[in-house]
Each structure stands twice: as C-alpha cells, then as structure tokens.
C-alpha cells in the first residue's frame, strides 16, 4: 500500500511563504478552476489557500525561538472528514492515500470542515465547494513533465528543501528515513487520525562536555605546569641491571 505524504522540517523552514505562493499559483491555474480571492489588493483581503505558513514564538524573552509552521492537509490515514460527507464527495484514494474532494459532487454543507481538527479544509466562497490540498495530484502523475518535476508545487518551490515528498509506507523512502532518523512526529496525535504528513522537530547542534574534559585528569598536581624533572645524577634503572 502506498501513502503519499509530505515531511516538513521545522528546523530548516525559514518562513518565506514560497510554498504558499507556488501552491496557490499551481492550484488556481488547474482544471478545477481558480481558487477564490476576494479583495486581494484592498481592505480585508481573503481567499482560499491549501497551504499556509504560520509563525509561533516559543519560550520567554530572551530565550525565545521562532518556529515557522507550514500547515496544509495532513492526508490522515484515518481521515475524520471522509466518513461524515453525506454525498461521498470527500474520499481517500486507495492507491496512494491522497484525500480528495470531488468538486462536482460537493454540496458545500461545510460538515467535513467541522470534522477536521486541523482546519485544513477551506470552502471556496465563489464556487461554493470545499477545497483542500490535493498533494498536486494533477502534477505528480503527469508524464509530460520531467520526472524530477513530478512533485507537489510546494516541495519544488521550497528554497531550503524543508519539504520532502514521498511514500511514508515504504520504509526505504526518503520521507520514511527522515521520520525515523530525525524524530518525525504527527500533529494532534490525541485524536487518532494518524496523519500521513509528519513534521521534523527543531534541532540544536550541541556538544556535551564533561568536567574531566576541561581539567586534565592525568595531572596529579591538579595544575598546569612543567612536569618535575628527574635528577640527572640519580641512578637509572638500567644501571642496576647492566652490571
């Protein structure tokens, strides 16, 4: 079984929003029609986005840390938004685990968005249907694109390679290795949704120095200085055995 997903490295993300803009560009230009934008250059701009980068501050001044946090649909392995849909417009693909909305079946009742604890679904207020991240399903299988470009738009756009894309059910894949080796974690594990997308935590490169590495443990006088010299006239050990 395949479960495509993103792995987002919070240690690398710089919060540049390149993934947000490239996601919007790709998905507003697709066959499903444009993503809603209302008053984009005016007061109270609003619109539909599949991906947003949020910023959090962790800790108390002066020991604070800024965490840029890209947030999109997590393509849960047990998605709570799918069974609640009354029309079957919301579904999870068996072949690759992508959670999608059939825009031609959606009645725009908002119930699936209520059922998503992450707020990953946003209604398109012009088309009146629920929209969400598709993992660029219209791109990753497009054989007219060179193979290196068959990835979600956000992954290709990321200048720091903070976003990895692949099959999290394949233990040998880049994403699985990243989750396994860099402590990848899911969001809100308490609801049992089993998100396929994982996040890699902030990491600090530290070196652990022990006390005895700072002071010379082999110095019997416990201080730096010349080692005591032996008396040149004193007998050597060799003198006693050479006769």
């Amino acid at each position: 079984m395949t479960q495509l997903a993103l792995v987002i490295d919070l240690n690398v993300c710089v919060g540049c929003h390149a993934c947000v803009t490239s996601c919007k560009q790709w998905n507003t230009s697709g066959a499903a029609g444009s993503l809603m934008d209302d008053n984009p250059y005016d007061k109270d701009p609003t619109g539909t986005f599949f991906n947003r980068v949020q910023t959090y501050e962790v800790g108390e001044f002066p020991n604070t840390e800024t965490v840029h946090f890209p947030k999109s649909c997590l393509h849960c392995e047990d998605p709570p938004c799918v069974p609640v849909c009354p029309t079957g417009a919301s579904y999870k693909r068996k072949e690759d685990g992508i959670v999608l909305v059939d825009y031609d079946k959606c009645i725009g009742c908002n119930y699936c968005s209520w059922a998503c604890p992450y707020g990953a679904r946003e209604i398109d207020e012009k088309q009146k249907v629920m929209k969400k991240c598709t993992l660029c399903v219209d791109r990753i299988y497009d054989e007219s694109l060179p193979e290196t470009e068959r990835k979600p738009a956000c992954v290709l756009a990321c200048p720091t390679s903070a976003r990895l894309f692949g099959d999290v059910h394949d233990p040998e894949s880049e994403v699985s290795r990243a989750i396994c080796e860099s402590g990848g974690y899911p969001l809100m594990p308490e609801w049992g949704t089993q998100p396929a997308n994982h996040y890699l935590p902030r990491r600090k490169t530290t070196i652990k120095l022990h006390e005895d590495e700072l002071t010379r443990a082999d110095n019997p006088l416990k201080k730096d200085g010349r080692l005591p010299r032996t008396d040149p006239d004193a007998p050597f050990l060799e003198d006693s055995v050479s006769w």
Binding site: R52, E57, V58, P86, T87, N110, S113, A115
Partner: protein, 324 residues
C-alpha cells in the same frame, strides 16, 4: 463554532414539528385505550398540517446552509457512514408519514386492521402514527448525532446532545400542541399541557447537565500538540494571512464572552421557567393567549439555546488561528 441561522432554524423548527406530531399520536393512542374521548378527524388532520408546515419550513431553512442546494439529492448517498446523510433520509421519510397520517384523517379513511372490541383496537391511522413515532425518534437521534459524533468537538461529543435535541424538540412540540388543542377540546389541552410541563422540566434538567459538563471540560488539544513543540509558553505571531479566512469566520462566533454568557441566561429563562409559568397560568385559568405565548416564548428561547449550543463549541482548529 459560528452559529449558522439556517441550521438553528432547521433544528428548532423540525424539533417543534416532531414534538407536535408525537403529541397527536399520543392523543390518538390514549383515545384508543379509552383514556380520552375520541377526537374529530379534523383535529388530527389540522395538527398534521401544522406539523408538516414546521417540517417544511425547517427543510427550506436547511437549504440556505448549502453552497449547492441543487445537488442536495446527492446527500442521501453515504447513509452507511454519515449521520448527516441519515438525517437527509429520515427527514423526508418522516414528513411523508406525517403527510399520509394527516391525509388519512382528512379523508376520514380509517379501516380497522386488527383487534376486537375488548382489546385496544388498532386502526390504520394509529398504525401509520406508530410508524411516524419510530421515524420521529430516528430523526431526533440523527439530528443530535450529527453533532455528537464529532469527537474533538468535546462540548458536543456526549450522549446529552441527542438527548437534549429530543427533549427540547418534544417540549416545544407539546407546548404548541397545548395551544393548538384549545381550539378543540379542554381534555386534550390538559393532557398536552401536563406533558409539556413534564418534558420542559426534564429538558431543563438535561440541558443544565450538559452546561455543567461543558463548564468543567478539559480540552485535550493544546498549542503544544497542535504544532508539536513541547513548551509551556508558545505564542502565535502570525496565522499566514493578513486578512481573515474561512478558518477565522467559520469556527468563531465573533461575540464577546459577556454576550455569550447573557445568551445562556436568556435561553435558560425563555426556554424553561417562563414557558412553564405561562403553561401553568394558561392551563389553570384556561386562557388560550397565554398558551400561545408560552410556545412563542419557548421557541425564541430555543433559538437562543441553539445559538449558544454552536457558539460554545470550541473547535481545536482555533488553536491555529489566534493572532493575525
């Protein structure tokens, strides 16, 4: 959550319509058992018409909630998994039984099905009424479970939710039936009025129980689990957009805490003690106006109750949308 008036009107109107229908069938069953005098057919047919009118009004209100009402027929498809889909099936099924029940009484076509003079006799309208009762409770459960099944909306995820939907709907329906029956029979008014008082009082107990439960609720999600950073002091600095988004509109009621609190006391007053008082006064002095007023006051109270029900629910996604 943002309270949508389409859903508020849907749930309160069909609740009253369902309660009224239950009252009618209760009256017919009591009459068959000889506890009450049999009523004229037009008592039941007019009552069914009133109930059907409320149900249709609720259905019409629900369409305003949909982005694509013309596709609403599709929503019966996923009844195996979705409570919303089940409600979409239960509501028209119940409405058609109410229609048939009213029509049979209007045509005064009521053949005996079985039973003898010694035993309670079962005739066609009573049988249809009993099917209607089953569908009516199924609809109450479907409506309540739409909200109760969402486990991370912890304010809703309790058996008290469908119970409250049922009891609040029944109490408003029986209050309406009391006012309606004044046009026909004093005996019926007394029966419905007694039940309306019992149901309103029971609903007060269960609704208070859910208020107490929600007051001491501990939310399982926090900003720590939301972004997965283990630190007690995390502050949001930006939510990814300068203006609002669907996420900031759909999940917040947008009112002050004081407003929320005042709505709670308004509905606690309008939906329970005031109608109880009006029912008591109306029944003891036999004043129709007071009984009609009791229903109106209780209905307004239930609109406030439903508004509060939605506004109080705290969606975990709000953790991601605290600062612009």
């Amino acid at each position: 959550m943002h309270p949508a008036f389409s859903v508020i009107f849907l749930t309160t109107l069909i609740g009253a319509g369902q309660g009224l229908f239950l009252a009618l069938v209760t009256a017919e069953a009591f009459s068959h058992m000889g506890a009450l005098a049999l009523q004229e057919h037009n008592f039941y047919s007019n009552g069914s018409l009133l109930s059907l009118g409320l149900l249709i009004a609720g259905l019409v209100a629900s369409f305003f909630h949909l982005g694509h009402p013309e596709r609403a027929w599709r929503s019966a498809a996923m009844w195996r998994t979705s409570w919303l889909s089940r409600e979409v099936i239960a509501l028209p099924a119940f409405m058609s039984v109410v229609f048939i029940y009213g029509l049979l009484h209007y045509l005064e076509w009521n053949p005996k099905i079985f039973g003898t003079a010694a035993l309670p006799e079962a005739d066609l309208t009573l049988m249809v009424g009993i099917i209607g009762i089953v569908l009516c409770f199924a609809l109450f459960i479907c409506t309540g479970m739409i909200y109760a099944c969402l486990k991370f909306l912890q304010e809703w995820h309790t058996p008290l939710t469908p119970l409250n939907y049922t009891l609040l709907g029944m109490s408003s329906g029986f209050t309406l039936a009391t006012a309606f029956a004044t046009q026909y029979s004093l005996e019926m008014t007394g029966l419905f009025g007694t039940w309306a008082i019992i149901l309103t009082f029971t609903a007060l107990l269960t609704r208070t129980a859910s208020l107490l439960r929600n007051k001491r609720i501990k939310h399982r999600s926090s900003l720590r689990t939301a972004i997965g950073v283990r630190h007690n002091n995390i502050q949001q600095k930006s939510q990814g957009s300068m203006g609002g988004s669907f996420n900031t509109r759909e999940y917040f009621h947008g009112m002050s805490a004081a407003f929320l609190k005042s709505v709670k006391w308004i509905f606690l007053l309008l939906a329970f003690p005031l109608p109880l008082l009006l029912l008591g006064m109306g029944l003891s002095n036999d004043v129709t106006v007071l009984l009609v007023l009791a229903f109106i006051v209780q209905y307004v109270g239930l609109i406030a109750e439903r508004w509060f029900f939605f506004a109080q629910a705290n969606h975990p996604q709000n953790l991601y949308y605290q600062t612009i």
